[in-house]
């Protein structure tokens, strides 16, 4: 692609960013990217497009594809920490030493209701983790998993649980396999 002069580049970019905006908004919405973080994703993709303009032959396809990829990466990174936050919070809640019996019972009841909506495998695993306080090795032994794979299985179950609590960031518009 021939190098564009500054006014041409500016105009071409302007036209492209305007015409691609509805599609970009749809991508961001489908991936449920929080508006506060959308700016980083958009800016990074658009600046890369600006610098590589001469090397990119189909800028709109490139831009949409790049933003999609960044959205996937965004949630891949976020999902891990979100699941970890949910897990830690539940473990903390269960570990409160002097909570009244009624509160403990309510918590157990709420937790069981959410767990009942998960697959049998995840329900059993998380019951061992939260109900009986088993560590990963004990869960693996109890459920017949290899130690090396228990972390992965646990993470998938935590993702399924988190999805039940907060249905954000777990939709997969482009068919990426879901956790859980």
């Amino acid at each position: 692609m021939a190098t564009l002069d500054h006014p041409e580049l500016r105009e071409s970019l302007n036209i492209l960013l305007k015409s691609s905006r509805p599609r970009l908004e749809r991508v961001l919405r489908n991936f449920e990217i929080p508006p506060e973080d959308a700016e980083d994703i958009l800016q990074d993709a658009q600046l890369t497009l600006l610098y590589k303009w001469d090397k990119i032959r189909s800028p709109e396809s490139w831009l949409i594809g790049t933003v999609k990829k960044k959205c996937i990466m965004y949630w891949r990174k976020r999902r891990g920490s979100l699941c970890e936050a949910v897990d830690t919070a539940i473990l903390d809640l269960l570990a409160v030493p002097q909570a009244p019996d009624q509160e403990k019972a309510e918590l157990t009841c709420d937790l069981n209701r959410v767990l009942s909506r998960l697959s049998t495998r995840c329900r059993s695993l998380l019951k061992l983790r939260y109900g009986l306080g088993y560590g990963p090795t004990e869960v693996a032994e109890q459920m017949g998993y290899r130690i090396s794979s228990i972390r992965k299985v646990t993470n998938r179950c935590l993702a399924a649980l988190t999805r039940q609590l907060l249905a954000v960031g777990f939709q997969q518009p482009d068919g990426e396999p879901q956790d859980g």
Binding site: T3, L28, K52, W62, L82, A89, L165
Partner: protein, 439 residues
């Protein structure tokens, strides 16, 4: 229990949002999770609300505009900076890049890499120097200005360019290291699939030059898949043309012809004439070698203006070589001899030992078909000293000595010429006539 842990208290939208983004304290997270465990429909709805991205688009555009201004200045200055830099001695060039920030720009780096690509065919040594300088500039780019991941992308591209220059010079060990370095840098880059495709394309050529065809074809399949995803016909064309070239090396000229023709159809004729010339050249060559002389001639006539448009001396020399081969194949021996002798002299002057040997064998083919054994003997005698003065594999030299012996005994056959020629091509497929694959 802390009052805030009460499950029936709704978290604020801000807390919900911060939790979703992993930016809430452990204590606050506990409160939010405790509340969400109650199956609160209101909060689920709040979390699923339709976001508004207007502000994100606006602010992003402002930053792009700001960067566009400075990039425009950089682009305007870069061609002159390149001229200034390349007018210096090699050592001085390195000093200037190291000491003067005006040479440490994205655009100058890109120009150096493009120049290296353009010189790759004409002067591999020059291409190597330019790519090394490009790496030096890339290394000095300010991540605060260009963005760290983007700098890594360009740095990787510079290593790919160096790897390619090393491949052209048949320095395969160094090329392997350069491609490895590029791969490592791309992992810390933006994830741009086009950069990845660029690396895969050149790595495929590198593997093909080492006769590792199945690995090379796998990489080219990935390039084609990226091209389709990015809607990039030019990239797809490059993948097809590279495959065509490698199929030619792999002794499958019919498949090579199919892929080259398909690749040419996908190329944009304006944006990369050098690539187009390379593709036409290889296609004409394989048509000739398959005995499809009329098609080859027609194609050559169509492509002739392109050779002149590209205009570098090596392209024109190779055009005449190809014309000589076709003339010989059509039995136009006088014309063939004249063309091939002229090209041979130019190759000798450029110290291109392998190409000279290959061309001499084409000339030998003309002589033997006319029964001119005296010329054949003289030609064979002249070949060995040219070869001895170069860094040539011992095995190739042995093959040429066999040819010389046969010429002395007047027992050279067309079969022997083809055998020696085939041997030479295989032993240095990378840098011979057939190495004009797209870069």
């Amino acid at each position: 229990m802390d009052k805030l842990d009460e499950p029936d208290r709704h978290p604020t939208p801000g807390h919900l949002s911060a939790f979703g983004r992993g930016r809430l304290s452990r204590r606050r997270s506990r409160e939010v999770v405790r509340h969400l465990l109650t199956d609160c429909a209101t909060c689920r709805q709040a979390a699923e609300r339709i976001p508004c991205y207007g502000e994100a688009f606006h602010r992003s555009w402002l930053e792009v505009e700001r960067r566009q201004e400075s990039l425009a200045l950089e682009r305007a200055a870069a061609p002159e900076l390149l001229r200034e830099l390349l007018a210096q001695t090699g050592e001085r060039q390195w000093e200037m890049v190291a000491q003067e920030p005006r040479f440490q720009t994205w655009t100058l780096c890109e120009l150096l890499l493009d120049a290296s690509r353009d010189w790759g065919f004409q002067s591999p040594a020059r291409a190597l120097e330019l790519s090394q300088l490009g790496i030096d500039v890339a290394m000095r780019l300010d991540p605060a200005v260009y963005g760290e991941t983007r700098v890594n992308d360009l740095f990787a591209r510079a290593w790919v360019t160096l790897g390619n220059a090393q491949r052209i010079r048949s320095d395969f060990a160094a090329a392997e290291k350069s491609f490895g370095q590029a791969e490592r840098l791309l992992k810390q880059g933006t994830g741009d699939p086009l950069e990845k495709a660029h690396l895969l394309l050149h790595r495929a050529s590198f593997l093909g030059n080492q006769q590792r065809f199945s690995e090379a074809f796998r990489l080219l399949d990935r390039v084609a898949s990226i091209a389709r995803r990015c809607d990039d016909a030019q990239l797809h064309g490059k993948a097809l043309i590279t495959r065509g070239f490698l199929l030619g090396i792999a002794h499958d000229p019919e498949a090579a012809i199919r892929y080259l023709a398909a690749g040419i159809r996908k190329l944009d004729t304006v944006s990369d004439p050098r690539l187009l010339v390379a593709a036409h050249h290889n296609l004409t060559l394989y048509l000739t070698e398959s005995g499809r002389y009329r098609e080859a001639l027609g194609l050559l006539e169509n492509a002739r203006p392109l050779y002149h448009q590209v205009g570098d001396q090596m392209s024109l020399i190779r055009l005449r070589w190809l014309e000589g081969k076709i003339a010989a194949a059509l039995g136009q021996f006088l014309e063939a001899e004249e063309l091939l002798k002229g090209v041979r002299q130019e190759l000798i002057e450029r110290e291109l030992g392998f190409d000279t040997a290959l061309l001499s064998l084409d000339l030998a083919d003309v002589y033997i078909r006319q029964g001119r054994s005296a010329e054949m003997r003289r030609l064979a005698e002249e070949m060995i000293p040219i070869f001895r003065s170069r860094d040539i594999h011992r095995e190739s030299l042995a093959a040429l000595l066999t040819f010389q012996k046969a010429a002395e005994m007047e027992s050279v056959t067309l079969g022997l010429i083809r055998e020696v020629s085939g041997y030479l091509k295989e032993s240095r497929a990378a840098s011979s006539l057939r190495s004009r694959e797209p870069r």
